[in-house]
Amino acid sequence: MARLMNPDGRQMYSRPGRPGPGERGRAMLILGGVGVLLLGLIIAVIMFVTGMFTGSETTGPRPSADPMLSSPGLGPSAGSGPQAEAALAQAPMLQLPVSAVSPRTLSTRTAGPPIALPQPEQVTGSLVPTGFPATEAGALAQLVELMKVGMADADPQTWARAYDSLAEPGALPAAQTRTSQDLVDLRRGSNMNPTGPLRSGMRISWAPTSVMVKGTTDDGTYTVACALGELVADNDGRVVSFGWGNCLPMRRVGDQWRIASGPTAATAPSAWPGSDEAVSAGWRDITR
């Protein structure tokens, strides 16, 4: 008969009453292995799940004129002078699908702390309120005021008047700006008159929600500012809303921010304010 003896069977007679050290060692190894496996599994699961909740923190320290307002992910190295300005203005921004502008769930992540915009000092005597400090936040506030005035009723003419009131000589003509083209498309696409007041019962307004600084030259006089807001179209109670963003190059001239001469800024990443896409594009909330 074959002798395929179980070694334990032999061992028990040579070492009465005590399990061999090999057995206990093996038990220890198996238990240890299983314990480590389970522990690893549990830790991995916990880490993954918590990671899913907190989301990936955007990192990327970049030298910038105002680190408080630096927006993530855009890195044309800032310098000064026309070339630096052009590079900064034309640097491409995050490409988002068109569908990103429609309402969607809000993200729990943020692109950074909210930005406080200063109040204008001069609200009369000009179409767009002016008189903002010579900071990035001032440039942002100036752009937001321009948008609020220019986007009223989604009228390209209104936009052109507001734009021209702030534009430096040499800036892109109002009719060629992306915003103007979009407004024309909007009017044409919804069978409205190309310019002028809206049909009765219809209202279109733009409310700012988020801003970001694309970049600033080293001397701090040239900033590409971006603003994102909610465009709400109300036709007899049927409301459609979506996100609408815009970027313009701003230059500090004298005691106010003007729309800079030279190439205009690349298209802003429009998204629904507060959504995951907006956060990943770098939009930050406004506090007044």
Binding site: A2, L4, M12, G17, P19, I30, V34
Partner: protein
């Protein structure tokens, strides 16, 4: 149980393989369902946050985990295997599983103090009062609160009976169980059949006593040769029956009978008579309720078949009618049992493999367990133990109700949504309905488990013999080797102490 409606041939017993505690949440137990839900949670969270790639990877992870939790391999899902492995190795590491008797260590304890390994350590064996001229040994399970007694039976076997007689026997077994169910004291009965390698002791003693001194030498030589050839392959079977009742059922009659161990014994004795009568109806010739010596010997020979010869010799040479000077209960256990291996149990120079016997879906006939006891090699020992628990009428009704509910939840949910129900579902559902109808008509419900084991001397090739046992049962019953629990399984399969059925657990009490 349902019968085949065929006019000829033996009766086929079906519906025996209803698994107890079948999960009622889509076939999962509540624990499994909870774990599966937990495994799927990360994927669902990721989905709700529109992170589809994350959701996909979590989904794959959850699928793997669900397979590990739900799909049984050799009767246990992977997670259950892992838990069992952890417990098993903990026992080895903490030196809980290896065992050495006090006597082997040279510490002779009290004669009446049991000294048994593993699950047997929870048993106590108090002597009851006098019953038919001897003091019966009560088996007290301190863990589950049960009191029982064991009897040795003699039976001529059923191999030579006709189909009609077999059917009659089966019917009588059924009515005996129903009768026990109505008695409300005893609710468990275990039948143990063990083969005993015939060592020829009895014959040798008889020869010694009847030997003639003037016999011719040639005749002696011939007789010796015949003895050597014939006796080496002969096998006997011994039968034991263990009945036990719960502490709860016994408490009040015991109090009326004087309380304490004696009171419980009296309450049990009233039932033993009825059990013995029922057994005689099954063709059992004699029923001997065992004294503590008898129980000790039954356990001892269970662990070590080789001691049967010396014990038998003692009985024949120095008869001990009242069982007061035989083997004490303190020496009933094995002298040595090392830490059990995962797939076998070694004890006192023998090795055992134990199995759970699972009835087939297609049904079985009377006497089909026989091959499990057909010893193939002289010297191996096979055992078979069937544990029955008779549920009371109320418990049975509740059980079949919940069974039907569990089956209907799944089937109805599928049917309402227009999904196909599988044949298995329908079969289970009709089976549950039939059972409920039978219970409503006054039949009793019996939980049962069948365990079988094989013991060979330690130096033999154990796996060879185990494979033969598995072959013998193939096509009739499925043998599930109870890995990582061989020591407890051995107790359930080979020792007449009534341990073997887990307590009835319900997911919910309706």
């Amino acid at each position: 149980m349902s019968t085949a409606t065929g006019p000829v041939g033996p009766r086929v017993y079906r519906g025996l393989n209803l698994k107890e505690g079948m999960g009622w949440i889509a076939g999962m137990t509540p624990v499994q369902a909870f774990l599966v839900a937990a495994a799927c949670t990360p994927a669902l969270i990721a989905m709700s946050r529109n992170q589809w790639s994350t959701a996909f990877s979590w989904g794959v992870f959850a699928a793997v985990l669900v397979v590990l939790i739900v799909v049984p391999v050799h009767g246990r899902p992977a997670f259950r295997w892992l838990a069992d492995l952890i417990m098993f190795q903990t026992g080895v590491l903490m030196r809980w599983s290896p065992w050495q008797s006090r006597a082997a260590a040279g510490l002779a304890g009290d004669r009446s103090e049991p000294d048994l390994p593993g699950v047997l350590s929870r048993l106590e064996f108090p002597d009851g009062p006098e019953f038919h001229g001897s003091r019966i040994c009560l088996i007290h399970d301190t863990d589950q609160g049960r009191w029982g007694a064991t009897a040795r039976l003699t039976h001529s076997g059923v191999g030579m009976l006709s189909d009609d007689e077999c059917t009659e026997l089966a019917r009588r077994l059924g009515s005996m169980l129903v009768g026990l169910g109505h008695r409300e004291v005893v609710d468990r009965i275990s039948l143990l059949v063990r083969t005993v390698p015939d060592d020829g002791t009895e014959y040798a003693v008889w020869r010694e006593r009847h030997q003639r001194a003037d016999a011719p030498t040639l005749a002696r030589q011939v007789t010796t040769e015949i003895d050597r050839d014939v006796a080496s392959v002969s096998v006997r079977t011994e039968l034991f029956v263990t009945v036990s009742g719960t502490e709860d059922a016994l408490r009040r009659p015991a109090k009326a009978a004087g309380g304490g161990v004696a009171g419980r014994a009296y309450a049990l004795y009233r039932v033993l008579e009825a059990v013995a009568d029922g057994l005689r109806g099954l063709g059992v010739q004699s029923v001997t309720w065992l004294t503590s010596t008898g129980v000790a010997e039954a356990i001892k020979t269970g662990f070590n078949p080789a001691t049967a010869a010396s014990l038998q010799y003692q009985h024949l040479m120095r008869p001990d009618p009242d069982g007061s000077v035989g083997l004490p209960i303190s020496q009933a256990g094995p002298a040595l049992a090392p830490a059990p291996a995962a797939r076998a149990y070694h004890h006192d120079g023998f090795s055992s493999v134990s199995y759970a016997v699972q009835p087939p879906e297609s049904g079985t006939i009377f006497g089909s367990l026989g091959p499990l006891l057909a010893v193939r090699t002289a010297g191996e020992r096979r055992t078979l133990q069937i544990h029955y628990e008779i549920l009371s009428q109320a418990a049975a009704a509740r059980e079949v109700r919940s069974q039907r509910f569990r089956n209907n939840v799944l089937v109805d949910a599928k049917a309402q949504r227009g999904f196909n129900t599988t044949a298995v579902d329908t079969r289970r559902q009709t089976g549950a309905r039939e059972q409920e109808a039978a219970v409503a008509a006054g039949h009793a419900l019996v939980r049962f488990t069948v365990a079988s084991s094989l013991t060979v001397p330690a130096e033999w090739n154990l796996e060879d013999h185990a494979a033969r046992l598995e072959n013998d049962s193939s096509g009739r019953f499925r043998l599930l080797r109870l890995e990582l629990a061989q020591d407890s399984a051995f107790v359930a399969a080979a020792l007449p102490v009534g341990i073997g059925l887990p307590r009835l657990t319900r997911a919910f009490d309706s």
